[in-house]
Amino acid sequence: MTEPPRDQDHRALVIRDLTKSFGGRQAVAGINLDVTRGNFFGLVGPNGAGKTTTINMATGLLRPDAGAVWIDGVNLWADPVAAKSQIGVLPDGLRLFERLSAPELLTYHGLLRGLPESVVETRAHQLLATLDLGATGNKLVADFSHGMRKKVTLAAALLHSPRVLFLDEPFEGVDPVSARTIRSVLEQYTANGGTVVLSSHVMELVERLCSLVAIMHLGAIVASGPLDTIRNGRSLEDAFVALVGGAHDTIDMSWLGASRD
C-alpha cells in the first residue's frame, strides 16, 4: 500500500489491507477500517479473532506482513515517530515496569515521550487522583491488583493527551466503581475531540459506549459501520452471534448436569 487514502481529513484512523500470519496461520487477513474523529469505535470479536494482533499492528508494536495504517493522516510504518506521538495505548497483558511506584511509572512514561518534568508531575497527579490511585504512595506496581494496573496503564496512555487512544479489553477484571470512573474519563476525552478505539468481547459495554462498531472473526472484518446499522433492530450480542456464532448449538450434551450413573 503506497498511496494513502484520499479524503481522510476527518478520520483519526485508517487501516488498509492489514495482514499478519504466525507460522503459516493467518491471524489478520487483509482488513480495512475507517474511524472518524471524536468517536468511540468498538472492535469486537470472539477470542482468537485477531483483535489484539490488529491493535498491536495499528500502534506499531507488531510489524504487519502487508498493509498500511494512518494515524491522523500520518502513515504509521513510514513515519512512526510522528504517528506514535498521536497515540496512547492500553495494551493486552498489562506488562509494566513492575518495580516502580505509580508516580514513578508516569514520570518515566512522560519523560520517554519528551514531556517537561513539571508538566508530567501536574498531569500525573491529576490523573492518579481522578483514577483513585492517589493514595498508593510508594507501593510498587508489582503489588497492584488487576484493576489498579489497568488504571495506571490508562493514566500512562493519557498522559501526553493523545489524539487516538487504543484500549485492549480496558474493563476486563475491573470492579464496577473503577469501571464507572474509567468510563467518565473516556467520555470526557472524546467530548474534547479524542478518538477511542476499543477492543472487547463484552457486548453490553460496546453497545453502551461505542457509536461505531466492527465485528471481527477469524482475522477478517465481517461487519463494520454505525452501531444501529450493525444491530439492525437486534441487540449487538444477537447480531454478533448471528455473524460469528451458533456452530456449537447442534452438539448434543444431554449428559451435562445429569446424574452420574
Partner: protein
C-alpha cells in the same frame, strides 16, 4: 495416580524441549551439561573402596545429592508444574494419592537418572556377591526416595511463598549465590585434588563432621556391606526409613496447609508522599536517558534479578584474587587487578540489557524509533553501580596485598574496561536479545534458553578479553620494565575504549532503530 503424574511430567519435559525447535540442540546441551560431573562422581565412588576411609566419599556424596535435591527444585519452581501442589488443589484427589502422584512425577526426568548413575558407583565399589548387590540396591533406593520425599516436602511447605513475588525474589538471589558457591567450591576442590585422586584428609574430615547426618550414615552403609558389618548396614537402613517416614508426615501436613490457603500477601509499606523518579538521584539528567538510568538504578535496588547479576561481579574477583595466587597464604602485587574482572562479570546483564525488561519494554517501542538514549541510560546505570564496587574491591585488595601501584592502575583503568565492556554489550544486546522467564529461576529453562543466554555471555567475554589483552600486556611490560610508560599506556587505552564504546553503541542504536517491534517480540518472556 503415580503413572498419570509421571506421564504429565514426561509431557511437560517433552513440550519444554519441543516448544522452540531451533533451540532444541541447546536444550539437549543443557540437559547433558551435568553428565561429566555425574560420570566423575560415578568413577570416584566406584574407586572409593580402596581409600583409607572407604565410607567417607559415599557419605559426602550422598549428603551432597540430598542438598542438590533440596536446592534445585526450589530454584526451578515455576518451570515444573508437578512441583506445585496448588495446581492440583481443585482436583478430587486425596492427599495420599497426590503424594503418590508427585512421587511418580519426581521419578521422571534427568535428576533421578543422574542420581541413580552416581549411586551405581557405590554399588560397583562395594559389592562382590549377589547378597551384597541386593543390600547396596536397598541403600540406593532409600537414598533416592529420601531425596525425593525431603525435596517435595520442602517445596510443598514453602509452595505459597515460592508462588509469591517475595518468594521468587529470594529464589533469584539463591540461584545466583548457588552459582557463585559452586565456583568457590570448584576452586577449593582443585586444592584438594592431588595427581592420584582426592586428598583423603579433607574428605575424611568432612565425613567425620557429617557422621550423624542420615545420608552420611547411609553412605557409610555402602562401605559396611564390603566389610560385612551387617549391623551397621541395618542401622543405616532403619535410620533412613525413619527419616523418610518423618519426611512423608511433614509432606502430608504441608500439602494440607498449602492447598487450603491463599498465597502469602506481600506486605506493603504505608502510603507516603509520592516519590519522583529522581528523588534520590538528582544528579541524573532529567530527560529520556536519565529516566532510563534512574529506572535501572531503582531496579538494582528493588528487582533481585538485577541485583543478583551483581553478586558474581563482587564474589568472583575476590575468589580469583585469593585462589589464583602463587602462594595460598598471601596476596601478590597483581591482586588489585582482579577487581577489574568484576566489570566483566556483569555480562549477564550488560550482554542482554533489554532482556530483563521483557515485554514491559513496549512503551519504548511506542514512543518512536530512537533507542540510542535507552542504551546510553542503561549503560550509565551499570557504570554508576559497578564503578564504586570495583574501586572499593581494588582498594581493599591493594591495601591487603600492599600493592599500591597496581591498585592505582586498576582504579584508573575502570572507565577504560567499562567502555569496552558496555560497548560490546550494546552490540550483543541489539543483535542477540534473549528473553528471560517471568517465573521461577530466570537463569535456566527447559527449552535451551538458559544455554543460549550462557553462550551469549561467554562469547561477549571472549571478545572483550581479546580486545583487552594487548592493553594488559603493555601494562605488565610497563610495571616490569618502565613505570614511566604506564600513564601513556593508560591514556592510549582510554582513547581505544572511548572509540570502541562510541562506535559500538551508535551501531547498536542504528541497528535497533528500525527493528524495535522485532526486539519486543524477541524479549517476550513467553519465548523463554
Amino acid at each position: 495416580m503415580a503413572w498419570r503424574f509421571a506421564r504429565l511430567k514426561l509431557r511437560i519435559v517433552r513440550n519444554g524441549l519441543l516448544r522452540n525447535r531451533a533451540r532444541l540442540p541447546l536444550a539437549i546441551i543443557s540437559a547433558l551439561v551435568p553428565i561429566p560431573i555425574v560420570v566423575a562422581l560415578f568413577v570416584v565412588l566406584s574407586r572409593s573402596r580402596h581409600q583409607a576411609h572407604p565410607g567417607a566419599l559415599p557419605a559426602l556424596i550422598c549428603t551432597a545429592m540430598l542438598l542438590s535435591w533440596i536446592v534445585i527444585p526450589v530454584l526451578g519452581y515455576g518451570n515444573d508444574d508437578t512441583l506445585d501442589p496448588m495446581v492440583f488443589a481443585l482436583f478430587p484427589i486425596g492427599r495420599a494419592q497426590l503424594m503418590r502422584g508427585m512421587l511418580g512425577a519426581a521419578l521422571v526426568g534427568f535428576g533421578p537418572l543422574y542420581t541413580l548413575i552416581v549411586l551405581l558407583g557405590a554399588v560397583v565399589a562395594f559389592t562382590n556377591s549377589l547378597v551384597a548387590a541386593l543390600a547396596a540396591f536397598v541403600l540406593t533406593a532409600l537414598e533416592i526416595v529420601l531425596c525425593i520425599t525431603v525435596s517435595r516436602a520442602l517445596t510443598s511447605a514453602i509452595g505459597a511463598l515460592l508462588n509469591s513475588r517475595r518468594g521468587r525474589d529470594i529464589g533469584v538471589i539463591m540461584s545466583m549465590l548457588l552459582v557463585v558457591g559452586l565456583q568457590i567450591a570448584n576452586l577449593r576442590l582443585q586444592h584438594n585434588v592431588s595427581g592420584s585422586g582426592f586428598s583423603s584428609s579433607g574428605v575424611t574430615r568432612m565425613a567425620h563432621l557429617l557422621r550423624w547426618v542420615p545420608t552420611a550414615i547411609l553412605g557409610q552403609g555402602f562401605a559396611a556391606i564390603a566389610t560385612h558389618h551387617w549391623a551397621q548396614w541395618a542401622l543405616a537402613v532403619t535410620i533412613n526409613l525413619v527419616v523418610i517416614g518423618a519426611a512423608l508426615l511433614w509432606w502430608s501436613i504441608a500439602l494440607a496447609r498449602t492447598t487450603t490457603r491463599s498465597p502469602d500477601k506481600v506486605a506493603t509499606q504505608p502510603a507516603r508522599q509520592p516519590s519522583s523518579l529522581f528523588r534520590r538521584l538528582p544528579f541524573l539528567p532529567h530527560n529520556r536517558m536519565g529516566a532510563v538510568a534512574a529506572r535501572e538504578l531503582l531496579g538494582f535496588r528493588r528487582d533481585p534479578r538485577r541485583a543478583a547479576m551483581l553478586i558474581p561481579a563482587v564474589a568472583i574477583p575476590l575468589v580469583w584474587a585469593f585462589s589464583l595466587q602463587p602462594s595460598a597464604t598471601a596476596l601478590t602485587g597483581a591482586a588489585p587487578a582482579f577487581a577489574l574482572t568484576g566489570i566483566v562479570f556483569t555480562n549477564r546483564f550488560s550482554a542482554n540489557i533489554f532482556g530483563v525488561d521483557g515485554n514491559a519494554f513496549w512503551p519504548h517501542v511506542l514512543v518512536g524509533n530512537n533507542p540510542y538514549p535507552d542504551i546510553c541510560g542503561k549503560q550509565l546505570a551499570i557504570a554508576l553501580i559497578i564503578s564504586p564496587i570495583v574501586a572499593v574491591l581494588a582498594i581493599a585488595l591493594g591495601v591487603v596485598a600492599g600493592a599500591y601501584e597496581t591498585m592505582f592502575v586498576a582504579i584508573a583503568l575502570i572507565p577504560c574496561v567499562l567502555g569496552i565492556h558496555l560497548g560490546i554489550g550494546a552490540v550483543s544486546s541489539a543483535r542477540f536479545p534473549q528473553p528471560l522467564p517471568e517465573r521461577g529461576n530466570p537463569f535456566g529453562t527447559l527449552n535451551g534458553q538458559g544455554c543460549a543466554n550462557g553462550l551469549s555471555a561467554i562469547a561477549m567475554l571472549a571478545i572483550e578479553l581479546l580486545i583487552m589483552l594487548p592493553i594488559a600486556i603493555a601494562l605488565v611490560i610497563g610495571v616490569r620494565y618502565s613505570t614511566a610508560s604506564i600513564p601513556i599506556t593508560i591514556a592510549i587505552s582510554y582513547a581505544i575504549a572511548f572509540a570502541i564504546w562510541r562506535t559500538t553503541t551508535q551501531r547498536a542504536g542504528a541497528y535497533l532503530a528500525p527493528r524495535l517491534p522485532e526486539l519486543l517480540a524477541r524479549i517476550d518472556p513467553k519465548q523463554a
